[in-house]
Amino acid sequence: MMQNYYGNGNRLPILLAEVPLSTSFLSAESKGDEDDEEKAQEDKDDEDEEDKIQIPDLDSTKSNLTLEQHTRYKQLLHDIYFSNRNRKVSVKQKREFHSLRSLVLAEREMYRQALIRFRKENMRRFLEIGFDARTYCFWVLLYFYMMPYFG
């Protein structure tokens, strides 16, 4: 269905280099200012609270459902909602589907919590790709350094 035309390492001509991920600007940003320190402390407190609640990590947490349960849920979902309407679904199958569905919904809520945590931790990536944080940092430093000369 989907074809990968350029999957063998070809890039758009303008994109000749890989982008390194830098964290120097952002980590340096939170230093120095007292307000930022307070915020950082608050964030740290929040994180501690989150740790107490045990919000799962998106990458390392595995599903509570087994492989069979995943497959069965998808099959029942298809049979009940998306297959030919003339085909009858037994009461037993419906009960099985609803019990599986409650498990899936519970896991989705945990997944949502994990996503919120993930977003907080990874939002810097949108700055690191495409926005030259180091040069920005340079101009800010230069501005403050040259200020005395220009009054």
Partner: protein, 459 residues
């Protein structure tokens, strides 16, 4: 003492210069992209300001005179941080493998997902009579501009072909394709637009007709900025790879499509006759108009991102207005620049999107057009999200602002020139970064139920 200070300064300068050199080397292409985006905003700005006869009369707009509520059409998750979509809605069914059948409120659609080997085939569509009531987009009812009338001025209000069609066919509203797509977006998903519009008595028996111009550029978030730049790079890439007919923008074709919009919420209301002007700049080797949408994958190591409903509705509007258009989506790994996938999108892909409710998108556009059609003759600006007369933001409403004449000393709340200078900004605050996130499906996990943790296959 002076010498020491001088040496100290010189050393600092050297450190700074070396620092810039190394950083420039690493970030060369990304800087080009950001610069391109800001240049584009500037060129857009000059395009508008060059038309002095247009901007001199309508560059300033007063406070809101009317509001159109879009609360009914808002996406259900507009107030939540993260929305986990439910399973595929029941109106879509899969038949015969790749065939998709949809029972939309406005009719039945059958479509097939096609591979690249079948790219000459079009998607199969069975459209019932109900569907025709909403769209009259038959090729026979569309018009192609053949004269120079169209391109004398970039603005729709100066387009002689469009005005002739309005006079002949009792049209309520004229709009460009870009603005039509913008109005079809539902509130709640980073939706924002500003549309300059004129209400003129050009119709038969001096009937008032609204003419909506191209939307004004808006400030961007990092994802939008990089996507726009990479989309430009993708066009350059295709210009060299694909034998396209008019890749250099030398010849622009306009096509006029009559769309009849009927509100599904108020079916007894009179339908709105909308003339949409589609701008075709580039064509595929087979001669089909070409649209390229770029999607950046920021977390490719985890999985494919789910497309937002505004992205999907863009495909739907493009393929519905001009059934022969070739809508290509290129997904690119943002960190490496690798082209991951290139796919032609048709109705089957649109139907298979679990979160899309096309009816509500078109109802949203219909509500905006109804509100605009109540305006008296004059120049206006519609903006979403709206602001009320005291300047408070209305996240689920469109506000309409009347043009002000500065000479009379009216208070101006919106100025086009100021809006253009703001459009060059890229917002880097926390909310803007959070807006960049998309949800994704896990990589290489076929058996996983969507939006759950990865299955432990050893379990």
């Amino acid at each position: 003492m002076g010498v020491i200070v001088f040496l100290h300064d010189a050393i600092l300068w050297l450190i700074f210069l070396e620092f810039v050199e190394t950083s420039n080397e690493k970030y060369q292409y990304t800087k080009e992209i950001v610069l391109y985006s800001s240049k584009k905003a500037r060129s857009y700005y000059s395009h508008w300001l060059d038309k002095s006869n247009f901007t001199s009369s309508i560059s300033n707009f007063g406070s809101s005179i009317q509001q159109i509520s879009l609360e009914l059409f808002a996406l259900p998750h507009h107030s939540l941080d993260i929305m986990i979509p439910d399973d595929i809605p029941s109106h879509i069914s899969r038949e015969n493998g790749e065939h998709l059948k949809s029972q939309q409120p406005f009719g039945n659609i059958v479509a097939k997902i096609l591979g690249d080997g079948n790219k000459h085939m079009r998607s199969v569509r069975n459209i019932s009579n109900d569907f025709d009531r909403i769209f009259e987009n038959d090729f026979l009812k569309s018009y192609k501009s053949t004269t120079e009338n169209t391109r004398t001025n970039g603005f729709l209000r100066h387009d002689k072909t469009a005005i002739e069609l309005v006079k002949k066919h009792d049209i309520d509203l004229v709009i460009t394709d870009k603005s039509f797509i913008a109005t079809c977006q539902r509130p709640g998903e980073r939706t924002r637009w500003k549309l300059p519009l004129s209400v003129l008595s050009i119709g038969p028996s001096n009937k008032l007709t609204s003419i909506i111009e191209d939307l004004l550029p808006e400030p961007q978030n990092p994802r939008e900025c990089i996507t726009e730049g990479i989309n430009h790079a993708a066009w350059q890439h295709f210009a060299s790879k694909v034998n396209t007919k008019n890749i250099q923008d030398k010849h622009v074709d306009f096509k006029y499509i009559l769309v009849v919009l009927q509100s599904s919420i108020r079916p007894k209301d009179k339908s709105i006759r909308v003339l949409v002007r589609c701008e075709n700049k580039r064509y595929s080797a087979e001669g089909y108009p070409l649209r390229i949408f770029t999607h950046l994958e920021y977390f490719k190591e985890r999985g494919d991102e789910i497309r937002s409903s505004s992205e999907v509705i863009s495909w739907l509007v493009e393929t519905t207005l001009q059934p022969n258009v070739l809508v290509k989506e290129i997904s690119i790994d943002a960190s490496s620049g690798l082209v991951l996938e290139e796919e032609v999108k048709n109705h089957a892909h649109i139907l298979s999107e679990p979160t899309l409710d096309a009816r509500k998108h078109f109802d949203c556009a219909s509500a905006v057009f109804r509100g605009v059609s109540l305006l008296p003759e004059g120049e206006f600006l519609a903006r979403f999200p709206g602001v009320d007369s005291s300047g408070i933001l209305l996240p689920l409403s469109v506000s309409l602002h009347k043009a002000n004449d500065e000479k009379k000393g009216n208070v101006t709340s919106l100025n086009i020139e100021r809006e253009f200078s703001r459009a060059e900004e890229v917002h880097l605050n926390g909310q803007s970064l959070l807006d960049c996130f998309h949800m994704w499906n896990w990589n290489n996990v076929v058996s996983n139920v969507p939006f759950t943790f990865q299955v432990d296959e050893t379990n």
